[in-house]
């Protein structure tokens, strides 16, 4: 491969306090590629995303985003156009309106009003319901709508790599479908995604490649086709 991957991680170890939650992780996401990180609870998937964002105190190894080494950068520098996250539990700013949540996502672009308007229009194009609710407090939204705001806030910073942490969790089947379609639409627009999931069906619908993670290590890498053509049993072995 001559082209540089959007996200490249090598021998990453990260954790909280004295021991590492993830050990010696290596993965890459190419430009315009969508990659899933599958695994059971406590496998360290979220920790990998947090390490990319610089939210984990102890991290060693190489993390490159679009050629920039971010392994020593503070979180707020990484968040300025390199990576953005739609975190677990959504973590919206609940005492603020939908539009304010979105605009806060574009914090580092605040002097570029035209670009913010373009981004805002693209988020509303992706989730028309948010436009209708834009003045509403985000705490008054349903879970699915809150997830849309979280994804929208992530898009607003126009990042090189988008990190999604279990966007399907605790949502109704209809809302899951909307989120999946949104991710497919993002792919069409050329976005690079790293998706953490527990739901294999969601991951196989969206992604080009899947990493399987257990006990803090990546144990396998496969294609969605492999899983569809009976690889489910391999996966179940890992996921327990």
């Amino acid at each position: 491969m001559s082209e540089q991957p959007t996200l490249e991680i090598n021998s990453l170890s990260a954790g909280y306090g004295r021991f590492d939650v993830v050990r010696d992780v290596a993965l890459s996401v190419g430009k315009g590629e969508a990659v899933a990180l599958l695994g059971p609870n406590g496998a360290g998937k979220t920790t990998v995303l947090r390490a990319i964002m610089g939210l984990v105190k102890q991290r060693r190894g190489l993390i490159r985003i679009g050629g920039t080494d971010v392994s020593a950068l503070p979180t707020h520098r990484i968040a300025r156009g390199l990576a953005a996250i739609a975190p677990e539990g959504r973590r919206l700013f609940l005492d603020q309106s939908v539009e304010d949540n979105l605009l806060l996502g574009a914090l580092h672009l605040r002097h570029d009003k035209a670009r913010i308007q373009t981004l805002l229009a693209s988020v509303y194009g992706l989730f028309p319901v948010l436009k209708a609710y834009r003045q509403r407090l985000s705490s008054f939204l349903s879970g699915g709508e809150q997830q849309m705001v979280a994804i929208g806030r992530m898009l607003m910073s126009d990042p090189e790599i988008m990190l999604l942490d279990e966007p399907s969790v605790a949502l109704s089947p209809v809302a899951v479908d909307i989120v999946v379609k949104a991710m497919l639409e993002l792919r069409k627009r050329g976005a690079s995604l790293l998706l953490v999931e527990q739901r294999t069906d969601v991951a196989t619908r969206v992604c080009d490649r899947l990493y399987v993670m257990t006990h803090g290590e990546i144990v396998d890498e496969m294609k969605p086709e492999t899983i569809r053509s009976g690889g489910m049993s391999i996966l179940n072995k890992y996921l327990g």
């Binding site: 503070p74 968040a79 975190p87 973590r91 700013f93 603020q96 806060l104 914090l107």
Partner: protein, 299 residues
Amino acid sequence: MLQFVLSGVAIGSIYGMIGMALAISFYVTRIINFAQGQLMMVTVMVTAELASSGYPIWLAALAGLACSCIVGILSYVIAVRPILLSNRFSFGWLVSTLGFAVIVENAAAYIWGPTSQAFPPILNGISLPIGGAVLTAQQLLAIVTAAVLAAGFEIVRRYTLFGKLGMATAADPEMASAIGANTTVVAIVAFAVSAVYAGVAGLLIGPSTFANPYLGDTFGTYGFIAMMIGGGTERPIAAMFGGLLLGVCAEGANALINSQASDWFPFIVLVLILIVSPKGLFSTSNPLFRPRRAAVTRG
């Protein structure tokens, strides 16, 4: 009756400004700066010193506020940040900000001596009769300034990007940094703004109390009471309401019980209010007081 209400509102707006100062830094960083009263004192002392050496009063006041700002930022950098860096959930700042207060206070006493010095009268000479009562122009200025500062804070918080960023940092500092906010800078700005609020309160009370290095103790305590009875920990402007209530209670006790009653009566009010409504009277989480909260509609 009217007299003590009016002078209570005047002194209460001073307490309210200090309460808001405490509440602003607490709102954003979840840290009580126990050196807040001392930040007010720094403005008073510097202004008095410069005014007595012949500088114009407005210049002296600006320099005083600037000094408070610097000391306020130092209180964060020296007394708070190192502790939060080693452990984000530590309560070490309880002691370290108190220690910082003692250092600032004693440094001031060392520089200017422990006794009171003259403070330039701003508008104390003029008095305005209102109904059957009298208010000095100085007191009126305090009330107006407090209203402007309280309203200004709310406007900035709700309608500017920086205010919204402050709210975001208050609600979820980690997520705020994940959208690109430098939370250290936000915290430093919050401490600087709170120092200005305390300093302005000092400028407005200075003509009545004179410049004394131990001024911060009493006013810091009253500001704290104002914040607690108002519920400023959740909503900084509530500290202003708390301050006004406190001022009227203290002046009322002086007028109706005896001239020393303002030393103990506010504490009884504080205890009673905290028993009835532990979150403070005007906070959003007080079930008795919920402004602009529409019925929850889930769509």
